[in-house]
Symmetry: C2
Subunit: 250 residues, 2 copies
DNA sequence: CTTTTATTTTGATTAAAGTCAATAAAAATA
DNA sequence: TATTTTTATTGACTTTAATCAAAATAAAAG
């Protein structure tokens, strides 16, 4: 199901040192340049690995917060669900990304995290992470940057939801997916989406029919090619023009 | 311009100990229960105070990140501005709240912060905060909770922008304002908004005319009374019903 | 205090997206 | 493989909010 040009090269350094911190801690560790001793401390932090089958929950709203989760493989969505049935997908999460940051606030998860394909995560007990980050300032700083980046990302989504039209939103979404696949060594112009039109719609603040129509429109214009969940971007530049100069970092 | 029933009682403890950490550090310090020595360390952190006149910038997009800002008094908005002129108000900020969290990510401010009335902030140099939080774990944890809460708040705004109608959005906004005024000792049913209809609209993903119509609608229904920026909530319960069971914590 | 500028309200019209409905296609299950 | 269920597309129509425009009100500046 995954594209084929995936490379684990980036993770080799960590892989040699610690069994579980392999790709899961890429996000948190690699950019800070830890020494062997420091990485060893971290090895203790991420002792536990978890597999979640497609459709399964990594965590549910209201349950006690124990650990952050680093996505080792797979694809997940997070969504907030209100009593009245209103639902909003707040994010899609792929390899190397960190989940559970919202739960620190009230020691309780504020959203559901559901696997959109069989996935693996590493548990990072949060109290341990805080302990260790006291002795490794660069790790603490790195963690702060990750939290901050989530805030910046959310502000980008707010801009999208607050000021963009359906087609612009979809273009923005596709470019974001494209970039994130590219970072992980997959094709930036040819990929399979893991989520349904309804889930895309929820994330983009649109109904599934509107999402479907926007896909069809972009295909008519020969900007993308759509076969169900398989997307090919035929003209990256024109797709970027569609969203009108907005950066695709959301 | 501010409502009159304001009390500084909550801040007295800190005020005795350190001149500037008075109300500015309420958010960050008070709930962690620091001892005198710890508060003294913090006094060094928040040495610098700044006044911003109405319409003035606290910080601008793209400028180097140096410090977080704790609002000591006044009222500010933050907004992201795109090259094509698209603008989105990402938040309104009142006494005791912390600004600049988005800037940690790339060592650069990602939004403008503009005073909507004459305001005072305390600068909290971020590197110092990180240093000190190493020796005061409870402060570090408190800071993590604040960042996490910002993420939760943003998810709430995403839900609002993604799934609520104009009138529901405005009801949600008013209830949020009401709650935040109440926390600070002001009336929860009678207050002056500091922002224009256009700024409310930008925050809620609506045009100013739509915001105005929604105000008029709620007034017609005798749920609120509107006199320009002066709002009276006549029926808090019905206002809550308007937004359909969604919590007003955003 | 008067003039100018900015803000707010309201109406008429247009554009965009939602809703309802039918069909088709894909995926999951028996 | 056949059947059921889920997901996606498309059309017709409705609702919602945006746009355009004018007037009224409030705030700021001279």
């Amino acid at each position: 199901m995954l594209p084929e040009r995936f490379s684990t090269k980036d993770f080799d350094v960590a892989q040699i040192r610690s069994s579980c911190s392999s790709c899961s801690l890429r996000e948190l560790c690699l950019p800070v340049g830890l020494n062997d001793e420091e990485v060893e401390s971290l090895g203790e932090v991420v002792a536990h690995k978890r597999k979640i089958l497609r459709g399964g929950y990594l965590h549910r709203t209201g349950t006690k917060f124990q650990a952050l989760y680093a996505v080792k493989s797979g694809f997940l969505k997070t969504c907030v669900l209100e009593e009245d049935g209103r639902q909003q997908v707040t994010g899609f999460h792929m390899t190397g990304e960190l989940l559970g940051l919202d739960a620190i606030s009230a020691d309780m998860h504020t959203c559901d995290a559901i696997a959109l394909e069989d996935s693996e995560v590493c548990e990072i007990p949060f109290s341990k992470l805080e302990d260790i980050s006291r002795t490794i300032p660069s790790l603490m700083h790195r963690f702060h940057k990750i939290m901050s980046r989530e805030i910046v990302r959310d502000h980008g989504v707010m801009l999208l939801l607050g000021s963009m039209k359906a087609e612009e939103r979809l273009a923005s979404f596709l470019l974001n997916m494209s970039r994130r696949f590219a970072i992980r060594g997959y094709s930036e112009t040819d990929f399979n989406l893991r989520m349904t039109r309804e889930e895309i719609g929820s994330y983009l603040g649109l109904k599934l029919e509107t999402v479907s129509r926007a896909f069809s429109k972009l295909q008519e214009e020969a900007i993308i090619s759509v076969n169900n969940k398989h997307i090919q971007i035929l003209d990256l530049e024109r797709l970027k023009l569609k969203m009108g100069n907005i950066s695709c970092s959301t």
